[in-house]
Symmetry: C3
Subunit: 273 residues, 3 copies
């Protein structure tokens, strides 16, 4: 780990990457769940990226190679979308996996394990998802897509998963962790009420794909910065929110409006000891 990676370094990096998304407008193909499409697309647009929701196997082999990144999310998995997920993951572009509720069924677990073999650049989930995926087996105490475990509990699982898969693994929680199996980065922007808005996890994973698409050189840095930027937009949105629905509106507005001063002074990312 470079010595110069202070909080200020990270905050400047977050601004540089957001600026890269805005100027390069990376084309991000999303094969995502039916609940998240609206918020994922609007998050990408607000950040400056160009979303493309395509999931047809007749189009993926032709379209995905033209994208800057792909985003695959199994939230409303169905068998007929599986070939497209596999094809998009195999198209040679950077891609990001969101293993929503991976322990919901054996079918879902096997799908995620198959996708994992296609070498995603990043896997992002909550602690219970990352724990389950690392264990590679169902979790009998599974309860929906909500967060069961503190993200710190999943730190060891995340490192193991990163090592075995070769992916950067990001774990969302009160503090987000991002690891490549060696270093562990913490990103602590965000507000608890984000969990009361459906598909914010899916939206931030889409944003990670946009950051990776804009600068594929370092998926660890891109993931940490995307998580912090999204959390910061949530913090700003929370300042005038009256509940989860106005927070959602405010978050997207804030993401669109983020400026250098705000990002460099408020992004909180640091190396974990």
């Amino acid at each position: 780990m470079d010595e110069q990676r202070t909080e200020a370094w990270w905050a400047r990096r977050a601004w540089a990457l957001l600026s890269a998304v805005r100027s390069r407008a990376p084309l991000v193909q999303c094969i995502t769940n039916l609940v998240s499409m609206d918020i994922a697309a609007n998050t990408l647009l607000a950040a400056g990226a160009s979303p493309a929701m395509l999931h047809c196997i007749r189009e993926v082999p032709e379209f995905t190679p033209r994208c800057d990144a792909a985003y695959i999310n199994v939230g409303t998995l169905s068998e007929d979308w599986l070939p497209s997920m596999m094809a998009a993951a195999s198209a040679g572009r950077p891609w990001v996996l969101d293993p929503v509720a991976v322990a919901a069924s054996g079918f879902r677990m096997n799908t995620c394990l198959s996708l994992l073999k296609l070498r995603p650049s990043v896997v992002r989930g909550n602690a219970s998802e990352i724990l389950a995926l690392a264990a590679g087996s169902g979790n009998s105490s599974f309860k929906g897509v909500d967060i069961l475990h503190d993200s710190e509990d999943a730190q060891q699982a995340a490192k193991a998963l990163a090592c075995s898969s070769g992916a950067v693994v990001a774990v969302s929680g009160a503090v987000d962790f991002i690891t490549d199996g060696k270093q562990v980065i913490g990103a602590s922007n965000g507000v608890p009420m984000l969990q009361k808005i459906t598909a914010t996890g899916c939206a931030v994973t889409a944003l990670i794909a946009a950051f990776v698409g804009a600068d594929p050189s370092d998926a660890l840095v891109a993931s940490a910065c995307a998580l912090a930027i999204f959390g910061l937009a949530g913090e700003i949105g929370m300042e005038s929110a009256k509940g989860p629905a106005s927070l959602r509106v405010n978050l997207i507005d804030a993401l669109y409006c983020l400026d250098e001063q705000t990002v460099t002074s408020r992004v909180k990312i640091s190396l974990r000891p």
Copy 2:
């Protein structure tokens, strides 16, 4: 009917059930239409429930039995989702049916009639839907999913449907009716502009599923309370709404923020003569 079921009794019951949803966070599987997914999930989250949008037949037999309740909605029916609907309805959990636009086609009517045989705890629709479902045949004057009949017109149909199906039947309208075939309960919270927001009917049916999931002991009471709570959130949302889109935002915010004082003083439920 117990003598003590005054308006005040109902209002306290509504608060108790909302509190139960918040504390127990019932896991509600939703096999719902593509338009409603966002608002249904956000309604459930705002109320304190845990939504899970899963519709894959490879997952339903494993997942639905772990849920507190299931919610099945035929709004964007397609043949490939039918086996999952049937499997979820057969999984032995309380479940709620929303027969959106049941008269739109013979296929849709037959699907709803088949689902009805799998004994939902609750069926909720608008007057024209309940009338059509009770008649068990298409309605040549069908016009979209909007409300054609006053909910009072459908009261007799609702009672007949409740008796024949064994389900509690709820009819949305200017005043909502809820019946188990014997008693008829009226719930009169709400504002007309809710009809100008897509899928608010779907969202309130999802909320009924959450209430039934949190306390399956009395689906009649749970349904009436869920309808009143949703309508009350709409009333509060309307206070600062400038149109249907801000009403939607405000409604979800208000549902999240409802407190005991507001619920017990403003919920309007009563036995119909």
Copy 3:
């Protein structure tokens, strides 16, 4: 072109058509992409139309003939929806095509070309989509669903497409153009930030379908007026927007609230020289 078609004539016509939508509540069947369903349905409701999101081939032959108009959008095209699109387009009702990202793949282009043969009343796209569709072949510089070309660049392509297809062709951009192959009408309401909200293009195409459904006598006039009304709602929404998410809320609210004075004084439509 009639001499009397001044800006004032157009503005009065826009108000008359919006009033017709409000009073007749045309039933508009939407076979649209998964991202756009919520905003398209809410746009239709806010304008006074009655949306019906049905896409099942078992229902289309029975349902579409009862509709005032149909709306077909290929944004998240999949093979299993194709028969329904073809059946709805063949049902003998006025229908409108949105060829989202037509150049994304050969499959999508061929689908749109097949649909075009079924004689839509209106085709609406951005400049790159209309250019690609007119050329009838993929565009190797395709980049997502964003706007690559100024709408003026596509004017000649739009006229050629209108002549060959028999449809009115509308091209969205800084200024919208609408042509039947002979006349070209310009509609200049709107704000740039609408492009930062996903599926606003889909929503305005749905609104065109509602206008055509309310008055099928002149699809050129209906299309121009729908585009101007939607753009005007965006202008009003922009007055208090803090970013794309609040703009979306405000736009729907404004569409619902539009009154005669506002419409007749602010709609900007004129014949192009």
